[in-house]
């Protein structure tokens, strides 16, 4: 990110090659001085510098040609000198790409003027919005973390202790272990802002921790088996799937609800924009609970046995369920049948997770395979073989995949890149069998729940560096949280809108348009949008064909000369006739003719 910005800055700040030298700035003088100093020391550096400059120049020109940014002509500054940086600064293409929503609209042929204008206007406006958003990227305060090894040093061999020592104290304190051997193994969940952590031991231990300050908010033992635990929309409430029923507690640990409609729940997912808690039970039921009104929205019998593998697609709120026969099914609350069923593994599916953009799904199965799918096209991308098979999977905001095999947690980078991954980015061994894995949002932290308690790992580059405070703000005050809650409830998305494509609502509904048009035609008795039937033009027959025209032309050609010619021809003919008549007379005459009576 930093490198990219620097690059653009350079591009923007270099004048054209054949133009006058830009106005001298105070820092340039010092640079030149430095250069001259270097020149005296070593001649080669200066040449290198100029070469560098020239390449930059060419780069600038190319962006000028290709870039869509219009430049002001003759950017004059008041005192008569030319503006060295005329017009708007160009925006790199990748940044613009990031904010592109859909493709551009083409004006349909034969569209009315109004429609044309409306389309052109909306295109202009959206382009402006895109540019402004892309420009704002420069102001984002934080950069993502990273971890790079030295030469012949694998990043996966770097231990957590070394990382914790190398980074600052605050970050270093994010690597810690909680020894909880009594009630394990542990499942965990981070709140949406990433400030609060929920831990639940299989044997009934439930704890809420503000994990950065290590502040224990509440700790209870529900005296029952706990299957899963999830935060609801705020830090004030969480849901616990216990042995029999589903319970909802507040942040003090006080039981608010016991939802008896939801029994034997094994896995839960919370859909934050819909305020829906989706649960999968041992009896094969997938149930949806609207937590804002406390109503069950749908109960779907999946008819595929015990459901203990579940994940949500954060892009479209579709629930993915993994089954023991190796299939993964996609569900929405509006349909009793799965939206999609795909066969992913030879054996049972052990774990699955979906990435933030809703493009990729990663599954692991009993066949010890780890598979990456493109769920827009429902096609497998890569298949990896893990010696022990992954029991838990989790994807971070930046797309790092963590997989737990036994007591080892491995983190992979670029799992859906063009080439398959050969070795992990990081690895860490915890003290017990891993039971739960989750990345902390907006932090470079991976939480691991295992048989002996909880481990918080540092995974550089996992979290999104810049949050949007109107959506999720880790630093929000109580007042801000209240305001956010009201706003979020007001724009709660209705469960009817859950489907594979969340942008469906913004598209033209062709089917119902056709239906409406048909009805209209029925009412009117004719089709108002129909094109006029093609009627061949009734030409005057043969009159306007090319041949006839040519003939007609010929008829009137050389009209003025014709009379003269005709006269000449007539005279000639006459002469010839006379001659021929004379000859005929000569030929006819015989010797006896002289005795004929002369007619005079």
């Amino acid at each position: 990110m930093a490198a990219l910005v620097e690059d653009t800055a350079k591009n923007a700040h270099v004048g054209r090659k054949n133009k006058k030298k830009p106005v001298k700035r105070y820092w340039e003088k010092t640079e030149e001085l430095k250069n001259s100093e270097q020149n005296t020391a070593d001649g080669s550096t200066s040449t290198e510098n100029t070469a560098d400059r020239s390449t930059e120049n060419t780069g600038d020109r190319s962006t000028e040609n290709t870039g869509s940014v219009k430049r002001r002509k003759g950017g004059q500054i008041p005192y008569g000198k030319e503006d060295p940086f005329p017009g708007e600064a160009p925006i790199p293409q990748e940044q613009l790409q990031k904010y592109q929503r859909g493709s551009k609209h083409n004006v349909p042929k034969g569209a009315q003027r109004k429609l044309k204008e409306a389309i052109a206007w909306s295109e202009k406006v959206s382009e402006l919005a895109q540019k402004q958003a892309a420009r704002y990227d420069l102001l984002l305060p934080e950069d993502a973390g990273f971890l790079e090894g030295d030469e012949d040093e694998d990043t996966c061999r770097i231990s957590q202790e070394d990382i914790a020592d190398a980074v600052d104290i605050t970050s270093g304190s994010k690597y810690f272990n909680l020894n909880l051997s009594q009630f394990g193994p542990y499942r965990l969940d981070y709140s949406r802002t990433g400030r609060h952590l929920l831990l639940s031991g299989k044997r009934g231990h439930v704890a809420c921790i503000e994990w950065q300050s290590k502040n224990l908010t509440c700790e209870i033992n529900v005296m029952e088996t706990v299957n899963d635990i999830k935060w609801l929309h705020t830090e004030a409430m969480f849901a616990v799937a216990q042995k029999k029923w589903l319970y909802i507690y507040d942040s003090e640990g006080i039981e608010l609800h016991c939802v008896k409609k939801f029994n034997d729940v094994l896995k839960m997912e919370f859909l934050p924009y819909h305020f829906i808690l989706a649960t999968a039970s041992a009896t094969g039921f997938l149930q949806y609970l609207d937590v804002s009104v406390g109503k069950e929205i749908a109960a779907i019998c999946t008819k595929s046995g015990r459901l203990d593998v579940m994940s949500q697609n954060p892009y479209n709120a579709v629930i993915h369920l993994g089954h023991s026969n190796g299939t993964v099914s996609l569900w929405s609350p509006n349909q009793k049948e799965p939206l999609v069923k795909m066969l992913c593994h030879r054996g049972a599916v052990r774990s699955l997770t979906v990435d933030k953009t809703g493009t990729y799904m990663v599954t692991s199965g009993l066949d010890r395979k780890l598979k990456v799918y493109d769920i827009r096209a429902f096609k497998p991308l890569h298949s990896y073989f893990l010696p022990a098979g992954a029991s838990c999977l989790s994807l971070s905001q930046k797309g790092l995949l963590s997989a737990a095999t036994g007591d080892v947690v491995q983190v992979y980078q670029n799992v859906w890149g063009a080439s398959p991954v050969s070795k992990p980015y990081m690895a860490h061994r915890v003290r017990g069998q891993v039971w739960g894995l989750a990345y902390c949002p907006f932090e470079d932290v991976l939480g691991v729940g295992h048989g002996e308690g909880f481990t918080s790992m540092i995974v550089p580059g996992a979290g999104e560096p810049n949050f949007d405070a109107l959506d999720t703000n880790p630093y929000r005050s109580a007042k801000q949280r209240q305001e956010w809650e009201v706003k979020a409830l007001l724009e709660k998305v209705q469960p009817e809108l859950i489907g594979l494509d969340p942008g469906q609502l913004g598209k033209v509904d062709q089917a119902s348009f056709e239906q409406r048009h048909k009805e209209r035609v029925d009412i009117l008795g004719y089709d108002p949008l129909a094109k006029e039937k093609f009627k061949p033009r009734s030409k005057k027959k043969g009159r306007s064909s090319a041949g006839a025209v040519e003939k007609r032309k010929r008829k009137v050609a050389y009209e003025d000369q014709r009379d003269v010619i005709r006269q000449n021809v007539k005279e000639l003919m006459k002469l010839q006739k006379e001659k021929s008549s004379e000859r005929q007379q000569l030929e006819k005459s015989s010797t006896l003719d002289r005795f004929r009576k002369q007619d005079k």
Partner: protein, 445 residues
């Protein structure tokens, strides 16, 4: 080993003091904002509902007249002053912000037929059933001094309407003929007539200031040029037009309110067929006035409602009515584009908001942004059935609703009959006549 881990300094994200405002760092990355369309749709739906909740258009009622209001006029310069004339010959001058009558004149005997302010706003003209045209000073007379007109012209016939020239000291009246008066003279400098008929309304064109249009009782709308001695052209419709109003921004368009409960927008240059037919009233439309932006107009009808139409739409976007409001005789759109004034039979002038759900008074910038955002959202999702249903729904009086149903049924029957006739006659012998062309009888040059 090179390593960097995300570590934020809380000082950059939390406000410094409690008196400070909260910091709100933004990131517009679409990846961080899933469900863009469904959330926007929900917002649009909420905005539409709230718009209907806050739609309280009635602002005030000005009472004081002792007979039905026959005409209203805007002051040419002052937003807060309105003049009104009643059927008993009384003229009142109102102060709108204080909502009170500041002056009462017994101007005529019988109806006050027309009233108009001079372009400079120093005086106004009234015409009445007593065949007089009177000019009054806008300033009230001193204490103890009797109300006297500046000037009185005694006409030969009843005068039914008056309108003042935009720039010059001339005005036009209509009655048996359309007369152009110079303010300095007592007899008309020009007099137009076309056949024997009477005129109900005359209006100067606001841009081409020498042009005039008038509605005649022989079902025609006649155009004049003041510089010529004969009228320009006229269009004859199936029923009589009551009033007309020029579009102040595109002054080649005018809209006339018709007895057949429709309004017709014409292009002055092409009278053969109206540009738009505005339907929605169920009874004769009595008055029409354009907004100063020229994008909308308001119409008053005999069916006890007033409606607001976008200039290029066939259907109204808004309907105003109250239980007490009777036949609405006259209507005006205020010059600041915010209010509508209606005068009705039951002696009241009512002040309405032009935009029913608009908040009156000063708005903070955040309020303004929110309002603009909501407006844009509603526009974006206006075609979605849920949003459309809520945005379109209006409560109308029972008899209007009934008549509306009846009229649709009648129209449907007529259409069906025509379709059947067409089906059973020689192809092409019963042509499809567009709705627009049905209402024009003839154009006479």
């Amino acid at each position: 080993m090179k390593v960097k881990v995300l570590c934020r300094n809380p000082d950059d994200y939390v406000r410094e003091t409690t008196r400070d405002i909260q910091r709100v760092p933004r990131n517009y990355d679409p990846k961080l904002h899933p469900f863009e369309v469904p959330r926007e749709y929900t917002r649009a739906l909420n905005a539409t509902k709230l718009e209907r909740v806050f739609a309280k258009p009635f602002v005030a009622s000005l009472d004081g007249h002792r007979d039905g209001i026959s005409c209203i006029a805007k002051h040419a310069k002052s937003l807060s002053t309105v003049l009104s004339g009643a059927c008993d010959g009384e003229v009142k001058v109102w102060n709108l912000p204080r909502r009170e009558c500041v002056r009462t004149i017994q101007a005529h005997e019988g109806f006050v037929r027309g009233i108009c302010s001079r372009f400079c706003g120093t005086s106004f003209f009234t015409v009445g059933d007593d065949k007089t045209i009177k000019q009054w000073n806008m300033e009230p007379p001193g204490y103890g001094v009797q109300e006297e007109p500046i000037n009185t012209i005694l006409g030969k016939a009843v005068v039914t309407g008056v309108d003042h020239h935009q720039r010059e000291a001339m005005f036009a009246t209509c009655g048996q003929t359309v007369d152009i008066y110079d303010e300095q003279r007592s007899s008309p400098i020009r007099s137009f007539s076309w056949g024997v008929d009477s005129f109900s309304c005359v209006r100067y064109n606001p841009v081409e200031t020498d042009l005039l249009a008038s509605c005649a009782s022989d079902r025609s709308v006649v155009l004049y040029d003041m510089r010529e001695s004969t009228p320009l052209r006229k269009v004859v419709m199936q029923l009589r037009s009551n009033t007309l109003c020029w579009n102040p921004m595109e002054a080649y368009y005018f809209t006339c309110s018709n007895e057949d409960s429709n309004l017709y927008t014409y292009d002055m240059r092409y009278l053969k067929c109206p540009v738009t037919v505005h339907v929605d009233h169920v009874s004769a439309v009595l008055d029409v006035d354009y907004s100063p932006t020229g994008r909308e107009f308001v119409s008053a009808s005999f069916d006890k409602t007033i409606r607001i139409f976008p200039k290029d739409k066939g259907r109204s976007r808004e309907v105003y009515h109250t239980k007490r409001m009777q036949h609405v005789i006259c209507v005006k759109w205020s010059a600041d584009n915010k209010y509508v004034l209606s005068g009705s039979d039951e002696m009241n002038i009512r002040l309405w908001k032009a935009n029913a759900s608009e908040k009156l008074g000063v708005m903070s910038s955040r309020e303004k942004t929110a309002a603009n955002y909501n407006k844009k959202l509603m526009e974006k999702f206006q075609h979605h059935p849920q949003v459309k249903r809520i945005a379109r729904h209006r409560h109308v009086p029972r008899d209007v609703l009934k008549q509306k149903r009846q009229q649709t049924e009648m129209k449907e029957a007529r259409r069906r009959k025509e379709q059947n006739v067409r089906k059973h006659s020689k192809p092409g012998s019963v042509p499809l006549v567009p709705e627009k062309e049905k209402h024009v009888v003839a154009v006479v040059e």
